[in-house]
Amino acid sequence: MQSAEVRTARLRPADFQRPVVRLYLRVPRTIGICRALDAYRYLARWRSFFAGLGFEVVVSEPTTRQTIELGARLAPAELCLPAKVFLGHVLELKGRVDALFLPRLVCQYSGKDLLFSCPKSLALPDMTRALIPGLESAVELVIDEREEPEEQAYRKMAKVLTGRRQKSEGRIENAEVRPRSQTQSTQRVRTNPKSKTQNPTSPDAGVSPLGYQEAGQSKVQNPKSKIGAVSDPVRVGVIAHPYLIHDRVLCLDLLAKIETLGITAVLPEFALRPNVRLDGRFRTNWLFEVELVDSAEAMARDGIDGLLLASSFACGTSAVTSEVVRRELAHVRPGLPVLQVFFDEHSAEAGLATRLESFVELLRMKR
């Protein structure tokens, strides 16, 4: 029988010695951002941040069927669709840029609450590295407000990227407004006088306050402005993560389908007024989910006709929040029609269209 000593001898491959924080021998010139997941919220900020540091920013092309296929082939089967698509975007960007940007948003303060991202998003850089070789030059942003404020995290990343001699202070841009409410850290960044004086304009600032339209391609207008103007004011609230609903290929163009049926879709980002938090009885500690649960409640109180819960298959957080939303609404608006739709790489347009049509028919009949 073989002894344990013989076996351990051939262990420990050399690449384990890779340092955690990479020091760049050749300073990267181009940085790639994947148009997936958190980018739908923060793309404008990230882009202006890297541009402010003097990098050329390459954002991956909008998702196509091929992106989905690339990602799905690589990823473990149980992963949710948006994360698979993220991997697809990484593959498309790889080789085209000097450094790839891998965000890891761990937790942020919202008022006094510490809100976490979902586990998949927390582990995204590690998973991406394990699946795709040759990502040594990737730059990682870790926002963990238990340890340091958001601004500090950006600064740290800037230092790793540019080297210490170049001054990166004050380059953190304020191009982005968080849709739900201004968290402490955002306010801190925004009121930083340095950042305004040293880098006053960014190409994206003000263009898209939510960063959504830019990352996705869906043309979203504030539906509240339309109310009254439309002859058939059936309104359906769409509760979905921004990275799902604003990616036209991912969600099979759900918003456009709703529009062609002649009804108005109300999105979470327009349902909530800034700085208003409803006290739902069930609080979650997930950054994205708090917003969804609150906005569902706000929509229900606002008198929408039906609710559409759209999520990706195997999305762990929405398994909880969909249930919470349904149970909360049973108290707020008993009898409100709710349709739940799951998306994965096998979702078909025809099936979705049929379900939507019958749902809309139901809403019209209920009137």
Binding site: E78, A130, L131
Partner: protein, 360 residues
């Protein structure tokens, strides 16, 4: 107070005497079966993981048996596990059950202490004496159960007839439950060692060794993991789970075995820089430890849809290919069948056997 807690295999054998000595009345449901699972599946959201469904079904049974307080360990962190208590409580309340929810987190520890003092009719000295007695008894029970489990796992691959250690193990658990005091448990421990030593052998000297890693509930609860430890044992494999009921209780209660966990986490950092739950870091680290200790394979067992376990899978695969150790990932949900798992295990074990012959 009639307290109930989520069922998790042999953990009940230590938790029940602890709570009873503290002065609470404990409702222990019968072990989970198809009926419990079906209740859970019917009530739970479709895409929740199987531990949620089983514990929910079990809580329904506890409430039917008359429990009025549900005790949950929870925490608000990124993993869904932190919401088990709250979500299950809401589902049960919507069904019309009335009960008190006792959530044990780091923040509510003072409340738990107050609760314990209240059980001793408000007297702190009496509560302290009771607590000392309770934890001593619980500790001995957990140690005895752990010994029985270890002996069972070691004896099974070498036993001439698998039925013999199996029957012995079942009777050992029953005896642990019946013995009321520490002295009896010490005697029982000696008896167990002798009894397992008398099991007839099949002549196998060095069985294959497999490390079992994965999500804690799946690793510990045989109803969920479809008796993976027993099946592997009967195929001639000595299984070493990275987590047992004793280690789970010891670590979460008193940080016993912390050095081990710290070591695993340090090793895992090569692949995994942030723990997200579901024992991801631990699984990776213990996998690396197993590879270094010359184990023959790693079985990674996790519930379908478990977020941390899903994302850690690629890292596990990369680690296993770096270290050259075979890896089997088993994803479980309410539709998993024991036969299907057995087929996969047989194929895995026969591959391990061939591998060992080749390297010899």
């Amino acid at each position: 107070m009639k307290a109930a807690f989520p069922y998790m295999d042999t953990i009940r054998l230590s938790l029940q005497p602890i709570l009873e000595t503290l002065g609470a009345e404990v409702i222990v449901p019968p072990p989970p079966d198809r009926g419990v699972l079906e209740t859970g599946v019917r009530l739970a959201p479709e895409l929740m993981c199987i531990p949620f469904k089983i514990t929910l079904g079990n809580m329904v049974r506890c409430l039917d048996l008359g429990a009025d307080t549900l005790v949950y360990v929870s925490g608000s962190w990124s993993c869904r596990f932190g919401y088990y208590g709250k979500l299950q409580a809401q589902i049960l309340r919507d069904l019309g059950y009335e009960f008190r929810l006792l959530e044990l987190t780091h923040d509510t520890l003072p409340d738990a202490v107050r609760e314990v003092i209240g059980l001793s009719s408000g007297s702190l000295p009496r509560a302290l004496v009771r607590a000392g007695r309770a934890f001593r008894l619980g500790w001995f029970k957990a140690r005895t159960v752990d010994l029985a489990e270890t002996l069972f796992r070691q004896t099974l691959p070498n036993a001439a007839a698998a039925a013999e250690p199996r029957a012995l193990f079942q009777s050992a658990l029953r005896r642990v439950e019946d013995v009321p005091d520490v002295r009896g448990l010490s005697a029982l421990r000696r008896e167990l060692v002798a009894e397992f030593g008398r099991v007839r052998r099949n002549g196998r000297t060095a069985p294959l060794r497999v490390k079992l890693v994965g999500e804690s509930y799946c690793v510990i609860e045989p109803f969920v993991n479809l008796n993976v430890i027993r099946h592997l044992g009967e195929l001639g494999v000595a299984v070493d789970p990275f987590l047992t009921a004793y280690r789970w209780l010891g670590f979460h209660g008193f940080r016993i075995g912390k050095a081990d966990v710290v070591r695993a986490k340090k090793l895992a950092r090569r692949y995994w820089r942030m723990c997200v739950g579901g024992e991801d870091e631990n699984s990776l680290g213990h996998g690396i430890l197993a590879a270094e200790q010359g184990f023959d394979g790693i079985v990674h067992i996790h519930p379908f849809g478990c977020m941390p376990a899903t994302v850690v899978q690629p890292a596990m695969q990369k680690m296993c290919s770096d270290y050259g150790i075979p890896y089997l990932s088993v994803s479980l949900d309410e539709h998993s069948s024991e036969t299907g798992l057995l087929t996969r295990l047989e194929a895995f074990v026969s591959m391990l056997e061939r591998r060992r012959k080749k390297t010899e």
